[in-house]
Amino acid sequence: MDTRTSAPEPGQGGAGPDTFPRWLMHHAKARPQQAAMREKAYGIWQTYTWAQVAENVRAIACGLAQLGFKRGDRLAVVGDNRPRLYWSVAACQCLGGIPVMMYQDAVAQEMAYVLQDAEIKFAVVEDQEQVDKMVEIQPDAPLLEHVIYDDPRGMRHYTQTLLMGLDELQEMGRIHDRNQPDFLDGEIAKGASDDISIMLYTSGTTGKPKGVCQTHGAFIAAASGAIQFDKLTDKEDILSYLPMAWVGDHLFSFAQATVAGFTINCPESGETVMNDLREIGPTYYFAPPRVFENLLTQVMIRMEDAGSLKRKIFHHFMDVARRCGADILDGKPVSGGDRFQYWLGNLLVYGPLKNVLGMSRIRVAYTAGAAIGPDLFRFYRSIGINLKQLYGQTETCAYVCLQPDGQIKLDSVGKPAPFVEVKLADNGEILVKGPMLLKAYYKRPDATAESINADGYFMTGDAGFFDEDGHLKIIDRAKDVGKMADGTMFAPNYIENKLKFFQHVKEAVTFGAGKEFATAFINIDLEAVGNWAEKKGMAYSGYTDLAQQAAVYELIRDCVEKVNADLAADPNMSGSQIKRFLILHKELDADDGELTRTRKVRRNFIAEKYGELIEAMFEGRKTQFIETQVKYEDGRTGKVSADLRIEEVKTFAPQAGKRAA
């Protein structure tokens, strides 16, 4: 058994206050005039100082108390990243309640499940849209007593008695606070590090979502560990635009911000994120790989339209950056000539590029949640953005491994973070232990017992190994790692990620456990392939049409072949080369249950839904008819059908020796 830890110093996590409300009050005293939050609203960045935030949180907390919110009650919080929703989380914590974060784009039924599961009586929601959902599911959630909305727009004619504006609540709270000035401080004083501070639902690739209960201690440990690790200060600026219900946002925008005392910035709306990013220019940044990928795609597409001279300059200096950019960032020795070229490139290309992307001021950027393509990762690092990977789950406060500055590897997730112990089980499964582990799954002792073993290790369900430098490398979900008929390893995620690193491939699902060879479903990237098709003058009427064109199959076959060549080079993987693939007639969609809300493939669901297609591929048919039900954005359903082509791909003989990068 392989165990790695990073010199645990358990004392360090407890150096400051031990609950989030105490951290908040600490900042309100230590840096009352410093900006805690900004929100782009009404055309400018409305700024709230720590003192103002504390005052508002107080008002919300007292208001909730006035409504009858009790210690231990759950408060649902739904909406985009709005300061008042963050305050509601904090207010709930002040009262010893448990905020339950819900995805704002969840449909009513999904919300109903969470409301029932967490026995929620109080909800703070953003606007009319969320209120409508709450009203709709009210019959299914009989416990729900109060729904408090942030934005009163359009709410004038709602007569439901359970509705209340956040403004009124705060007003009520202020009166309450005046009448009982010691009440809230008393409540805060009752809080303990071991109390549950937050409930985050795991989307769960199988079964119903589970509520992960994390304590103040856990998130404070995770936050302070990361703060130490990257030397974060209270001067950082971060843009909060990822769903509040995602553990990543809670760690970065709430836990780390509250512990370190830096500023979070909420964008004006979904459409203005890019612009807001450019204005704020965060110093600390966190995004899943797809955001970085979209940005890069946009960069490349926009550069295509540039004049030839500009394009030449761009590509020349991007070559320079590829050659030496990452090394310069890592402080490795680089020749004087390259240094000069890079300096020039920084002036002409990288600097302006970062400016347009909103990344000029970034000191540290992280990506997590899925594997990031090596080219993508290298691109950002080469232009001087200190992009790093981290590894973690909701159950571990998204905090297990971090890549240390100067020791960045493209295909690892770094070393165990401060206070964290990582161990590999015999089957390759990664086990972790530390202060950041979940307390329990809400009302699911069975699940809790299943995921934490007798020694107190959390079983991540991921398979991986440590490389020679002690960096953790993730291969796949442990349970997904199967065996081919010949006994070699089949790691579908690993292969799919390799496929997805091609810009034309949006999603891929591979099958092959127990078979002679592997097969794959492909979703093409409509934007990238569409662009490519336009350049070639191909006409197409939409996704389904484009996906079935022979030329597109040609294009994708190239990608698959390259992946096969890559796989052939790895003795463990060479057996799982893809022999046949097809391009799906529709995009995999969370609304159809094919993806999770975090856009992870729900493998088993897909295997069941498209069983006939898989069968056809393994049987070697040339085409297969399929009809599928789809759900549109407005909730209606319809049918899509197509005759799908199935094509063969060249496979390679296994090669011993050097692996391709």
Partner: protein
């Protein structure tokens, strides 16, 4: 390319409404002012001040005034020279008829006189538009040409018809040497440019532009056409009048009505068109261009060893101006200022094309 705007976010409307909201531009402007106020006076030659900088600045000011009328309010004027003349002769009369009249007061009174005449000739704009208004302003031009030539009172009965101003001072500082003249003009121009900028970004500026862009819609939201148009005439003629005072007193010293002839009016209109309608910076760019082009046509062939005769240069200048007017009206009605801002935008987006 040179812009680094990340982190320059605005947390108040005051910050958002600055004239130069971008930090790098504020610095560039500060640098420009530093060069204009400190470096140039140290290194400039007399020729520079006399033949280039002073005329450039004064004509910029006049073009600025005209631009408020034409570019911002959409009212054409072919009589700018007349309003300059009114300013110049009025100030002259205030100076010679009132003992101890300070230069600055006379200058402002000159501007005010131009305002009065400007508003008077602007009154037709309430009834007539476009070309008709052009005729009204031409009437002002011809009438003042005549008045200052024929009515002896205006020239203090000077026998030659030419009048002169010498020994000027401001707060006891003599405005005699080219450098002091330059600094005085520069200061006046900067103050007026700033105030003009303030006006065009305030309520009145929006009213002007609203009248220019769609007068019926402007009236429907409560803008009084009369007030908007006449205030544009007033502000425009005031600035033009002040420019006239500077042109006469500082640049020429001694002058006759021909200095403010219809050619001057056309010249200023060209500056505004080439520089950019509806832009403060455009007035400076246009004036710079029109002042420098003849000099360049004079100097460059000289340097290349193919000297052109004065007449040829005059004709060439005419042709180039004429062609450029048409060119700009067709290709870029907002003139050099637009090209400048497009260039700026390109720099901001670099390396992307859009």
């Amino acid at each position: 390319m040179l812009y680094r705007e990340n982190g320059q976010f605005k947390t108040s409307y005051a910050a958002d409404q600055q004239i130069f909201p971008i930090f790098q531009e504020r610095w560039a402007m500060a640098l420009l002012l530093l060069v204009a106020f400190v470096v140039l006076p140290l290194v400039g030659s007399e020729y520079w001040f006399r033949a280039i900088l002073i005329p450039f600045l004064i004509l910029s000011l006049a073009a600025l005034g005209l631009n408020i009328l034409v570019g911002y309010c959409g009212q054409i004027s072919l009589g700018t020279g007349a309003f300059m003349a009114v300013g110049a002769y009025a100030a002259y009369n205030f100076m010679v008829r009132i003992d101890g009249m300070p230069l600055i007061v006379a200058m402002l009174l000159g501007g005010l006189s131009a305002t009065v005449i400007g508003v008077l000739f602007g009154i037709p704009s309430l009834r007539i538009k476009g070309l008709y208004l052009a005729v009204a302003t031409l009437a002002a031009q011809f009438f003042t040409d005549w008045a200052f030539l024929r009515i002896g009172w205006f020239t203090n009965n000077s026998s030659s018809g030419s009048v002169s101003m010498a020994r000027l001072d401001v707060f006891g500082v003599p405005i005699e040497s080219p450098v002091t003249k330059y600094l005085f003009v520069l200061t006046v121009v900067c103050v007026f440019a700033l105030m003009a900028k303030n006006l065009v970004r305030s309520a009145i500026g929006r009213q002007w532009m609203a009248i220019r862009d769609m007068d019926v819609a402007a009236a429907v939201i409560g803008i009084r056409p009369m007030y908007a148009k006449l205030s544009a005439f007033a502000v425009s003629s005031f600035i033009v009048g002040v420019a006239g005072v500077l042109w006469a007193f500082i640049h020429l010293g001694a002058w006759e009505p021909a200095a403010f002839s219809i050619d001057r009016s056309f010249q200023l209109l060209f500056m505004v068109i080439i520089g950019g309608l509806g832009s403060i910076a455009g007035a400076f760019l246009g004036a710079g261009f029109i002042v420098l082009l003849p000099l360049a046509l004079d100097q460059i062939p000289h340097l290349l060893g193919i000297p052109l005769s004065t007449a040829t240069i005059t004709h060439l200048v005419h042709m180039i101006f004429g062609a450029l007017i048409v060119f700009f009206l067709i290709v870029e009605p907002h003139g050099l200022a637009k090209l400048w801002s497009v260039g700026k935008q390109k720099l901001r987006l670099w390396p992307f094309p859009h």
